[in-house]
Amino acid sequence: MPIDVYLNVTTVGILTGLVYGLMALGLSVIFGVVRVVNFAHGEMMSIAMYLTVLLFSSLNLDPLVMLVPIAAVLFVFGYALQAGLINPFISRPEHSQFLLLVALALIIVNALLIIFGPDARTVQTAYAFDSFQVGPLIVDATKLYAGAAAIVVAALLFGFFRFALIGKAIRACADNYTGALVVGLDVKRLYALTFGIGAACVGAAGVMMTLIVDVTPIIGPTYTLLAFVIVITGGLGSMAGALLGGLLIGVTEALAGLLFTPSAKSMFAFAILVLVLLFRPQGILGRRSI
């Protein structure tokens, strides 16, 4: 296989990995702070994707333009979900949380099926088939834009948690729950806020994802699993870790698909996950104490 095929495939892996990373970022925030096992993560993303498709087909707005409004809608959704439904479950055992979110995921998937029907929906922008040629490298335009947008959103989020007061408060909740209470932080509201932010993140990722893939009601579960794999690999509570995890999984799957049977490429992601869980459970960039 000529070298440019490897180059192309690696590039694809990197770009797609960035978008996966953004999706996982949302989960990292939710899981890392609120400690809820969000098994409806992929389904939330599919809501965002359907919103994008809907707005695109009715108003003809480019997805990247719709990034902010849709992320905002998902923020509200996440906030309401946390405050209304999930809050009492935080102290409950994992299997209860799990069941709650699995039930939620089931409802979302089938509601989407009823509303939008089973056929795949796409967003065909004017630049949907463009590609840039740089020497032997052929870079897909939509993937490039999506990847770039992912980096921007991740940077914004990073800045928020680093420098904004609320961001620091949220980090405090994650680090030391009791301490945060003692200091007088309204933990309940901050949790809801965090869930909202995580949802906004996954919403943004969803908007970008519509540029790359087609939407069907049932794509949620695969992405939920992927998000967990990335978050655990990259490290809980570390945003850079989520992005790095996304990159790692994206590139590994791409190269594995090239070198081995593409239909088995997911095995490598799971193999990496197992190795990380065993030898470095805090993840590549995670901190020691979980």
């Binding site: 296989m1 000529p2 095929v5 192309n8 495939v9 694809v12 892996g13 797609t16 089938n110 099926l113 009823i114 509303i115 939008f116 029907g117 089973p118 056929d119 795949a120 796409t122 065909q124 949907a128 088939f129 463009d130 590609s131 052929i138 897909d140 993937k143 790359i212 893939v213 087609d214 069907t216 009601p217 049932i218 794509i219 695969t222 799957e253 791409a254 698909g257 090239l258 049977t261 593409p262 239909s263 490429k265 997911s266």
Partner: protein, 412 residues
């Protein structure tokens, strides 16, 4: 485009009958004599939710337009009982039991081989005839069942017919690809076809060599790596067995990675389906599919087309509708000849079915001792300007082939 949400079966049947009535108005007056018998209770099992929802709901359209057409053919009335298998084997079996419990005298379904196997066991055990509309796993009709019938090609049959058709096509155009790269989806159908190729291809002296085989995950949302690998094989043409979503993904990647194969030879669903044509527009022309299909020159095909256009405007007639409709046609025809709805009589009547005035390509509907219609053939169809034209076999052809494919980059 907002999707019509159906709330009532009765409403649906009513609108379908209304649609077909205007096509067959005079015939209905004649048919009144035949329908003095009680309608035959037919249970239809399809995956209308779950991961096969899209295909199941498409098959359902073939069910919905059937009653009117059957009436116009002077055939007895069917009382259809719809059930959703939820793309799940357990549910399929249970639903089949429930339908039989609720009085179904005949079952039709279920698109998926696994679910069809489960239903076949129930049907055989209860002695209720089961007519399979679409399922390609050969094993189903190898079990010695007396009550299971399949009016569809097995994977082996699809392959043999496809290779035959390809040779016929190459003869017609006087050209052929010297090498192909074989891409297939790694699910039940795709794998059965891939395996079958090794067994079946040597019998046909195909002029091309398979340089590489790229199998991909059915749930893959992004096939850039797979297509890159296929492109890297440097073959003349692309041989494919895909589903609808992968066909669209692959095509997009072909455009983005700037590779237009000499031809896309598909031996499965996807490349000729409505959504493919609509979504990809100008980029959808070119691929040639060797698949079970309707014979455009048959009389009943035109009737079916008209009925579909009336009930579901904008949807082209294709495999899912055709074979599902034919399953109901078989049921009604058998009921007429059996004279009673007694299951054993029905089964015996089905076994002696001989319908030449049907829709699908081939000499007609007959069943061998195993309950399989082994005379079915594939058609060769090509996408052209948002429509489908039939290139072969000769009796069914209505256009000349376009070879090689117009380069994607030149299509505005």
């Amino acid at each position: 485009m907002p999707r019509r949400i159906r709330v009532s079966r009765r409403h649906l049947l009513a609108s379908a009958v209304a649609g077909a009535t205007s096509v067959a108005a005079p015939a209905i007056l004649r048919a009144q004599g035949a329908s003095s018998r009680p309608p035959l209770k037919v249970g239809v099992l399809l995956p209308r939710s779950g991961f096969e929802a899209s295909i199941g709901q498409d098959c359902q359209r073939g069910v919905d337009i059937a009653p009117g057409i059957l009436k116009s053919l002077n055939l007895p009335e069917l009382a259809v009982m719809n059930a959703d298998t939820e793309s799940n084997v357990d549910v399929a079996r249970e639903r089949a039991e429930k339908l039989i419990n609720d009085g179904a005298q005949l079952l039709v379904g279920a698109f998926d081989s696994g679910q069809s196997t489960a239903i076949a066991q129930v049907a055989e055990q209860k002695g209720i005839p089961f007519v399979i509309n679409i399922a390609a796993a050969p094993d189903i009709t190898e079990q010695g069942y007396k009550f299971v019938f399949r009016n569809f090609l097995t994977a082996q049959m699809i392959l043999s017919s496809a290779f035959e058709n390809q040779l016929e096509l190459f003869n017609l155009i006087g050209a052929f690809p010297k090498s192909v790269v074989f891409m297939h989806v790694n699910d039940t159908f795709g794998t059965a076809m891939a395996k079958g190729i090794n067994a079946v291809m040597p019998k046909f002296n195909m002029p091309y060599k398979i340089l590489d085989e790229v199998s991909y995950d059915p749930t893959a949302r992004d096939l850039s790596v797979e297509v890159a690998k296929a492109k890297g094989a440097n073959a003349d043409a692309l041989l494919a067995v895909s589903r609808l979503n992968d066909a669209m993904l692959i095509t997009r990647e072909l455009v983005k990675q700037r590779w237009t194969p000499q031809a896309v030879l598909s031996m499965g669903p996807g490349w000729y389906e409505d959504q493919y044509l609509k979504t990809l527009g100008k980029l959808s022309s070119g691929p040639i599919s060797f698949v079970p299909f309707q014979d455009p020159n048959k009389k009943l095909t035109k009737v079916l087309e008209a009925a579909l256009a009336k009930a579901y405007p904008g949807i082209n007639l294709s495999t899912n509708h055709v074979y599902t409709f034919e399953a109901l046609l078989i049921a009604a025809d058998a009921y007429k000849r059996a004279g009673s709805g007694e299951p054993k009589a029905l089964a015996d009547a089905i076994r002696t079915t001989n319908i030449t005035d049907n829709v699908s390509i081939g000499p007609g509907i007959q069943f061998n001792a195993k309950g399989q219609n082994d005379k079915l053939k594939c058609g060769t169809i090509q996408n052209r300007g948002g429509k489908l034209v039939t290139l072969a076999p000769k009796e069914a052809a209505n256009a000349k082939p376009e070879w090689p494919m117009a380069p994607y980059q030149n299509r505005a």
